[in-house]
Symmetry: C3
Subunit: 295 residues, 3 copies
């Protein structure tokens, strides 16, 4: 784990801040002190102990290696800040929470790169799923694949009831397979059968469907999502941190331990899968399809 | 596993085809090539890659050793046929999907016979639950005990909304106990609590109740069950086979491995249970009750 | 286990019967033979084989060491009585089923006392969760923490639909943590996600909410709770005992085995947690708050 963290920090120093991408959507949040590294805008309200982490990796908050690195460092800073007890995770990109793993990181790169990328994805899950802070996802846009995983890592999920938005682990639709710890996280959230059907069909759920199966906890009109998240957060913060943290760990540790026990083989699985000619080819086709859509 | 397969094939050769039982209900499906072995009518539509397996072990599709053997060989042929990607499992018997394990195989026979029978029941579950094909149950009749197990093995369950039909693992009502892998399959489908209550009370659910707890996925008017199954199948076949198969295996392998780790002791448990005087006596009483009902 | 039972019996002999607390609420049940030890009034109807265990540890059925000891002996007697096949667990205290573990047993006592108390709590869970009898909870009042655990141990839960009543594992609200086997029991009842949210927030559910998440099976008007329990019991007793008992054990044994494998360390955890200064202090504050409310 330490090695991973060192690697991630080194990457961040290498990649540096990204001027122009940082903060645009964050300013409207008010005058609270900003600790923006780049594509993650963090506002910590020291009076409430609640931070808002706004993802701003435009256009669709793809989980690139750089973005994951910044995300992890931002999260780690809050985790170590005794003045911060809760985090609201949301998006500054229009109409999308996060589009999930960045396909560019999975195409035409070296095996070393794939391994480094996958370690960062694992690390994001490990840190977010086990956070000592209360974590609330304010899902103000579509949230497929890795975006859905991030939401499922939180303690509570509020989704904007916009019928254009959808959420789910849709990997099979792209011909790829959600790893076992994505699956475990979903089973923990919606149960075995809903997960089985979701994953085999790569289902993306509308907000009402997602609410019905328990993939999100609450639907609200889009303009109320931040205020609702703040109100829910205050309910969670009424619980003594220590008792809540031990309880959360008791619930989630067995799932975390399964990945920790197989972390290296999970990386090897990913690398050997993604380097297959057939998979590289289908990713290429997928990216060309995306380009044509935009064009 | 190989030994079991050999034994099953040997049995089939011994028992031979059953003229008169084969195919009657299958002809109406059209002119597609028929590969009927006996009490399982198989129609494979080579244009869609979808086979319909119609159980025709009249009157109630009891899972006898001969029937299970034929069923397994039919399934295996489709599994090995690269032109077949999905199977719709349904019944050619009126008002019943399958009545479950054939009580005649559990009464007044030798320990060797009981062991051979139980191996075939295990094998049916292992093959159907892990099929590489998309499996859809078109439940056009009642489906108690082993019939419910077969339905639960499929990827998706559509049931005719006829109030006379019921489905469930009702073993305790007969004074017997569903084995642990029946239980595991039900837990995977409807969760722990619904399974606990179902199994302790031997509950048979009406179609709306079965739908409510998630034991079946969809209810349709009886005359639409085959067309609905075909429509749902085409949704499932839109997913790349490879990704779907790996996902299915990831979901189901831990459950399968539990039986494989205890397969022999599970057979011994069954044999020692079924050979008890008290169990033989209650099966005898049950059969006499059935005779009186029919008479 | 034997050592625990011996210790419990010894305690009972030491503590003796409690005149004045016994039986007041029980008389209205009629002329059936009473086997009251003290704060648990037992009425066994030998014609039906159904006993009613009425908790009468006034004012709120706190689970003190003495009360748990009496409860266990009463339960054990019924368990060993071949004329008793089912137990209805209910309360003789007004407006409360059970308030859960007695805080007086967790404050200002010796480590030895805490260990003895915790053994008795474990023993109550082990006996009730694995009872060979059909157990139905007639929840005629609020049921927080340990009271909710008792209800969850039963085979079926009927709750009075009085909006003033609530039920749940609310430990975190007091700054303490439900032990893993409380958690396991709740996961078995309502699934993983509802448990996670319940335990992290220490949620107490209204009767309709409890019914919706499956924490109770049925709601009835308060005056019908005993008659409904009797009617439900007769459905359960229609199932052959032997098959039902094996099925129940198959469902619950893995959960029981987890505690048995860690029973001593679970006691040590409790003792070291409860003897912490910070915990003792917060329990003291909680008790003072309760006193002020009453005063």
């Amino acid at each position: 784990m330490a090695a991973v963290a060192v690697t991630l920090v080194r990457r961040l120093l290498r990649s540096g801040p990204r001027p122009g991408l940082c903060g645009a959507g964050g300013r409207e949040l008010g005058a609270a002190p900003r600790r923006a590294i780049g594509r993650v805008a963090v506002e910590l309200d020291s009076s409430t102990g609640v931070a808002v982490m706004k993802m701003e990796n435009l256009p669709v908050n793809s989980l690139s290696l750089d973005f994951l690195t910044e995300f992890l460092i931002s999260l780690e800073k809050l985790e170590n800040d005794r003045g911060c007890r809760g985090v609201i995770l949301t998006s500054g990109a229009p109409k999308i929470f996060s589009a999930g793993l960045d396909i560019m990181e999975m195409y035409g790169k070296s095996a070393e790169h794939y391994a480094e990328f996958w370690k960062a994805v694992q690390e994001m899950w490990l840190r977010l799923y086990q956070s000592n802070m209360v974590t609330i996802a304010a899902i103000n846009g579509s949230s497929p694949a890795g975006g859905c995983l991030m939401a499922m890592c939180c303690d509570y999920r509020i989704m904007a009831e916009n019928p254009k938005y959808s959420i789910g682990l849709n990997e099979t639709q792209l011909g790829i397979v959600a790893p076992f710890w994505f699956k475990d996280t979903m089973v923990n959230t919606v149960g075995n059968r809903a997960t089985e059907r979701s994953l085999e069909l790569g289902l993306l759920y509308s907000p009402p469907e997602a609410h019905k199966i328990g993939l999100v906890d609450q639907l609200v009109p889009e303009e109320k999502i931040q205020s609702t998240a703040a109100a829910v957060m205050s309910q969670w913060l009424a619980i003594p941190d220590h008792a809540r943290q031990i309880t959360k760990s008791m619930m989630r540790k067995p799932t975390v331990d399964r990945l920790l026990a197989h972390r290296e083989s999970d990386i090897q699985n990913f690398v050997s899968f993604i380097t297959k000619d057939s998979i590289q080819k289908s990713l290429q086709m997928y990216m060309e399809m995306l380009k044509q859509r935009r064009g």
